[in-house]
Symmetry: C2
Subunit: 416 residues, 2 copies
Amino acid sequence: MMDELKKMGERAREAAFFLGKLSVAEKNKGLLAAGEALRRDTDKILAANEEDMEAGRKRGMHEGLLDRLRLTKDRIDAMADGLSQVAALDDPVGEVLSMKKRPNGLVIGEKRVPLGVVGIIYESRPNVTADAFGLCFKAGNAVILKGGSDAIKSNMAIAAAIRKALLDSGLPGDAVQLVETTDREVAKALMRMNGYIDVLIPRGGAGLIRTVVENSTVPVIETGTGNCHIFVDESADLAMAADIILNAKTQRIGVCNACESLLIHKNVSEKLWKVLSGRLSEKHVEIRGDETVCALVPEAVKASSEDWGKEYLDYILSAKTVDSLEEAIAHINRYNTKHSEAIITESYANAQKFLDEVDAAAVYVNASTRFTDGFEFGFGAEIGISTQKLHARGPMGLKALTTTKYIIYGNGQVRP
Amino acid sequence: MMDELKKMGERAREAAFFLGKLSVAEKNKGLLAAGEALRRDTDKILAANEEDMEAGRKRGMHEGLLDRLRLTKDRIDAMADGLSQVAALDDPVGEVLSMKKRPNGLVIGEKRVPLGVVGIIYESRPNVTADAFGLCFKAGNAVILKGGSDAIKSNMAIAAAIRKALLDSGLPGDAVQLVETTDREVAKALMRMNGYIDVLIPRGGAGLIRTVVENSTVPVIETGTGNCHIFVDESADLAMAADIILNAKTQRIGVCNACESLLIHKNVSEKLWKVLSGRLSEKHVEIRGDETVCALVPEAVKASSEDWGKEYLDYILSAKTVDSLEEAIAHINRYNTKHSEAIITESYANAQKFLDEVDAAAVYVNASTRFTDGFEFGFGAEIGISTQKLHARGPMGLKALTTTKYIIYGNGQVRP
């Protein structure tokens, strides 16, 4: 590990120790001050962002990525508003989840405490700098941020504004530290900072997440990729099915909870496509189907076996006909990324079976997969969507940024 | 990944799918049948164990390790009893932790479900084969076991007995699979079985745990190493302090919750050593102290700076004099392994400060660190003691072998 990173880690640990002792009022004061600082420094941040945009244009970055990178006064206001919203959330720290007395008189409690130091490795969007800081800070954690090189000037300006606001409020600036070196070796070293970083959360595309999972010795929460299915059962209300499919596929295409694959019970396949195919083609959705689908939908193209495992993040939908609910469940459990899965059905038994047997963070009956989101789930915020099974599964709010500690009150007990 | 392991992983996934659907009665039937099979196959298991023992003696394995490896009729009975005890525990699976209705009518519940496939990598003790199977099975998980080469024949005999018992009860034998190849490449391949293994739990010495943490891409729960401290505060009841120190250091030395390091407030140092040093030397405990300690305790040797970070697992205790509670907390947070820490004090404020500020899985006031244990905490069983902050912290019972799944009941909701 590089000396520079090690020092950063030590400063983060010190800040975390301090943050763990703050009252909720002190933490909220810091969040609001940070939001104000972003508004006050809008011109500076926009100027830094323009440097990133200019460098991006020179490198020939395409318009979609440039748009993710772009900051405007409205976007900076939205970041500041986000920090106020986090200030308004309940503080998860300090809650005692259970406490009981053992026969030997020891009183054992389980208390929610901050994780300590959280590392976030992310790609283009500079708003993550403020958002991740806000959630980590509210949960009492110090955060070490490693953004993409594309957004380095923007991220530095945002982090500087926040750090100054914290210091001006008598709080530790090292609650948020940005790794300013953009080379990949630094990112790899960050992934091996055991003893300094308690958890690493990658936010970005599948490639970034794979790199972090494969190289990190620090515990990782895997987030994000979603090959989400909708299964239309034999008993489905087909109008409802069509509405939900349209929504889950097209309401927003570049997100992990969008539907990528459709499974249809053979007995309703023909009827469903009659109501569905026109609506999908109006939205320019390409259908990659099996033989039955291609026979029913003239504009469909033949799916290859690779299509079943693909997260398109595009106006493309794979579609397969199945003989039974069991076949649908087996297909989903084989190809999904354990994110979000839905069944459209009027059958009580099939709904329950699907909920029980599909292995995913969120399993829906008669609703769009697009609801898998911290705000929609009522958490008020989200640091990401976990697709692994350890620690947190599904949308992660403030509680996912905490751990527990056993506190034990004795009066001289020794083990016999 | 080797083909053989991949097939094993596929069989484990299939078994896990089946196990996830079992009722608690069916799971208990399997556990009791497995226990009966161990008793019935006692002679076979003892014969296999004798082969391991003979090979160990030939390699010159020392007596302590031979004793860990040795099985007797009593030890096999104890394994069988362990499975009955697990059968008697509450089933953690299926509990709905919360369920609420969102403004849009979606009803979102969080349900406890099995992890899926658990991998356990462990060292000599063959009883882990039965114990780990029992806990994983009760929580609805399939388990892939990779034991040490020293115990391979014993582990094979135990696993064979359990598998046969499950099959005879109409349950999947692949609920427990033992990796029979003992070379290290297989262990490394096991650590990279993402998509097949949901979590890996290493059980053994610090070296094994480090290897798993450094090489695994599968999420790991780090267990075990404990550099546990006792801090004797200025206000401590010194007789109580001496009793607790003796217990935590000498009641059992080779365990992770034993005390390895003592911190003493300077104002009570002389008095404490008067009551303590004789009792420690009776138990042949070597004291490695700072200057103050060496001046007060003639038989003490000078501690080197490396002593503060050491887990001795032996009749050795490092001892340091501190000027304040703050210095004690800072020392502990710097050198501990986040396992178990204790303060001996009569001061309310100091007790609360120590509980708040020490970063460890279990923090004690006026009790021995030896209580950090699943049985002592009332969990009825233990798969290990987590020293990381993700997922589970401290003693891990059945609940640590589960995850959650969001189940969402809709009636046509789409995202606006």
